[in-house]
Amino acid sequence: MSIEKGKISSQQLLFLIAGFVHGSVLLIDFTVGITEHQTWMVILAGLVITVPVIVSYVALAKRFPGMNLVQINDMVYGRFLGKIISIYYIFFFMMTLSFNIRDVGELYITFLMQDTPFIFLLIVFTATCAFAVAKGVEVLARTSHLFVVTGLFAIISTFILLIDQMDFSNFLPLFELPFIKIFQGIHIVSVIPFGETVVFLMIMGCLNKTEHAVKNTLSGLLVGAVSLFIVAIRNTAVLGRTQTIWTSASFQSIRLINIGTVLTRMDFLIGIAQTILMFLKCSIFLYVTVVAISQLFGLKSYLPLVLPLAGIEVILAATVFQSPVDHATITQNAGIIYSVPLIFVFPPLSLLIAKIRGLPKPERGKGT
């Protein structure tokens, strides 16, 4: 008996995943600091690594139709151990949600609106996400294709506008960086944009038809990955060496658009597109956290928990880091290491155990 009654079609799942991965278009700047002009390679490698993992997510969800992650954990790992793993997941959801909300705040604090108080931006943004979550996952799924279209339009239009300033020789010293940096880059990319799709294990429960869920999930992932790839190429081609010194490389390359006296100040429009995409991502994260917690406590509906959790997330986002530098360094080291087991180990493991124990047995299905 899962909490979420809403049903989403697998095509909507495609757009949800594409919009979700789009959400972190500005975030690959983490890796730009480390893997200067080889970011595009790192993205491809990251994609290749996460594809099998995501296929395992879909297989797990298909094996337990109509059940979200917390219920699956309970069934596979038994009551006690399942609860602990679920709490670990919930911690991951809450932390990543606070990172994303903080990213939106930082985007506005450093680039667009400098002297508004930080906490005010977070409150208003989280309130909107809470409002969207209160409407239910169906509404988010139905409108997700609009978000994906805006995202793609923003990325492709900036790419075209910057073509004449692109100097493709910036890619040239191909394999120059030491392998440890490349490995860290791949690790970051495979966790932040792609690995976070582990949250969809919570949402895949309410798929009405699951026959080509795998195809849709992968194509959604592909759309997200292609847009990240385009942004990486654009940044490296336009900025070349100076890519590493800016806090956000893609934002800086957008500020360089200068065609005629009209199309010069595009950074605000791209900031808007970025906020819209982050809205989708944060709403999905908030929805997932709320459903996971209410499923853990065995509630009938997740609605009462939306606002208190939003309150917690706002304060968490405001206090988790002091500055963008703090944010970048910690996420690049501890942030991605602690989420490795969640993304790469537990889902395939529970799939394996489910296969061995031949779950889901109907009679023993005593999920909460």
């Binding site: 009654k5 450093t110 680039f111 609106m113 400098q114 002297d115 508004t116 108080p117 005010f120 409150i123 208003v124 309130a127 909107t128 809470a130 409002f131 209160a134 409407k135 020789s169 040239l172 010293p173 120059e176 900025l239 070349g240 060496r241 100076t242 010194i245 800086q252 500020r255 360089l256 200068n258 010069t264 100040r265 509906s301 609605l303 939306v306 606002l307």
Partner: protein, 397 residues
């Protein structure tokens, strides 16, 4: 489930709209309390050694009411701008010091150009450029210029056709294509050149020409920098040599002696492309530079009939020769300035990254030993309206 769901969402909506109202309008800045800065000049005070910053601020005239009469109003009493200046240990401190005079903070997002004084340039720009890259209001597409003497003088020169000097400077630089004796360098280009340890960034050089009582601005060439310090200047021809190599020549005039050596043929550059391929042959660095350009005969002072195939071919060789001289002049100048203004170092780095590790440390010694092999192919594509010159001497008719 539906009924109370709606009711709860309704309350949620009210709460959502309640939130922002509580916090009032923070971070709002009305247009009137904005000091719109359109040009900045950075100088160094000799005695105290701290930074003298002059900011050209738009003076919104008080007559108000629509832009039409504003222009009229601006004419008679004083210019529409005001050069405010202040001192400080760093640029940011100087920017904030200005608020003692103007009352509200400088709004530097519309800054067209940053002009560095000669003393600041020679001392080294690292210390000064950081603010202009880091400030969130600063556009990376703002232009960088170096003034021969003091930057504040450049901002004071009152232009004839344009209302604000800074706008005038920006227009001068942006329309470099007509003569291509220098090229537009914005903040980001300058920063990327400064970052690479072998490249020598260039910036247009502004000088003031005193002509019958009023001062006029004149871009007299480019200034070359080596790790942030200005090491020398290039005149127009040398600067154009660099442009030929970088392929940034848009248009311009080439004066070539006519085949029979009495008078010249003047050609207009229509299009120019260049391709540079670095090569290392038995330890010696050779730069193959291939320049293709199209020119048109726009004037001739000789009376010779140039519109024949042989004459045109001879002129084409002569143009290639002139271009070669310009490029070699630029190369010679960069050799004695010991500054890699063409960016050969970066090209080598990209192509031969392994050998580059060894060359990189003693690049200053290796750079003069580089050998250029330039092949130029110029084509005369049209001779405009005239086929034959008006005054043709008798024997050749």
């Amino acid at each position: 489930m539906g009924k109370k769901m709606n009711f709860r969402i309704m309350k949620l909506i009210i709460c959502f709209f309640m939130l922002p109202v509580l916090s009032g309008c923070l971070g709002a800045r009305q247009i009137n309390d904005l000091e719109i800065v359109i040009g900045m000049g950075v100088d160094k005070e000799e005695e105290s050694g701290n930074v003298l910053l002059t900011a050209q601020v738009v003076k919104v005239d008080m007559s108000g009411g629509g832009a039409a009469n504003a222009r009229g109003g601006g004419g008679e009493d004083s210019e529409g701008y005001w050069n405010v200046s202040s001192k400080g240990k760093s640029i940011f401190e100087a920017v904030r010091q200005i608020t003692h005079k103007t009352g509200n903070r400088l709004f530097i997002s519309h800054n067209q150009a940053v002009i560095f004084g000669n003393d600041v340039a020679t001392e080294g720009l690292q210390a000064y450029i950081d603010f202009f890259l880091r400030a969130h209001e600063m556009r990376p597409t703002a232009l960088i210029l170096v003034s021969e003497k003091k930057a504040s003088e450049v901002l004071d020169a009152k232009p004839e056709t344009e209302k604000y000097p800074a706008m005038n400077i920006a227009k001068l630089v942006k329309t470099y294509g007509f003569t291509s004796h220098f090229y537009e360098v914005n903040m980001e280009d300058f920063a990327s050149c400064m970052m690479s340890d072998t490249m020598a960034p260039l910036a247009p050089l502004v000088s003031i020409v005193q002509e019958n009582d009023c001062k006029e601005i004149y871009i007299s060439g480019m200034a070359a920098f080596k790790n942030g310090k200005m090491v020398g200047t290039l005149n127009h021809d040398e600067a154009r040599g660099v442009l030929w190599v970088l392929g940034k020549v848009k248009s311009g005039v080439i004066i070539v002696p006519s085949p029979n050596k009495q008078g010249e043929a003047i050609l207009e550059i229509i299009k120019a492309k260049s391709k540079v391929k670095p090569g290392i042959k038995d330890g010696k660095i050779v730069m193959h530079i291939e320049i293709k350009n199209e020119v048109s005969l726009s004037e001739q002072t000789t009376t010779e009939k140039l519109a024949t195939i042989e004459a045109l071919e001879k002129i084409q060789e002569a143009t290639s020769e002139v271009i070669r001289q310009e490029v070699m002049a630029a190369f010679e100048k960069s050799k004695d300035l010991k500054a890699d203004i063409f960016g050969f170092g970066e090209m080598l780095h990209k192509k031969y990254s392994k050998e580059w590790k060894s060359i990189k440390d003693n690049w200053d010694e290796i750079y003069p030993t580089i050998e250029l092999n330039i092949d130029i192919e110029s084509k005369i594509i049209k001779t405009d309206l005239l086929k034959k010159p008006v005054s043709q001497n008798k024997e050749e008719k």
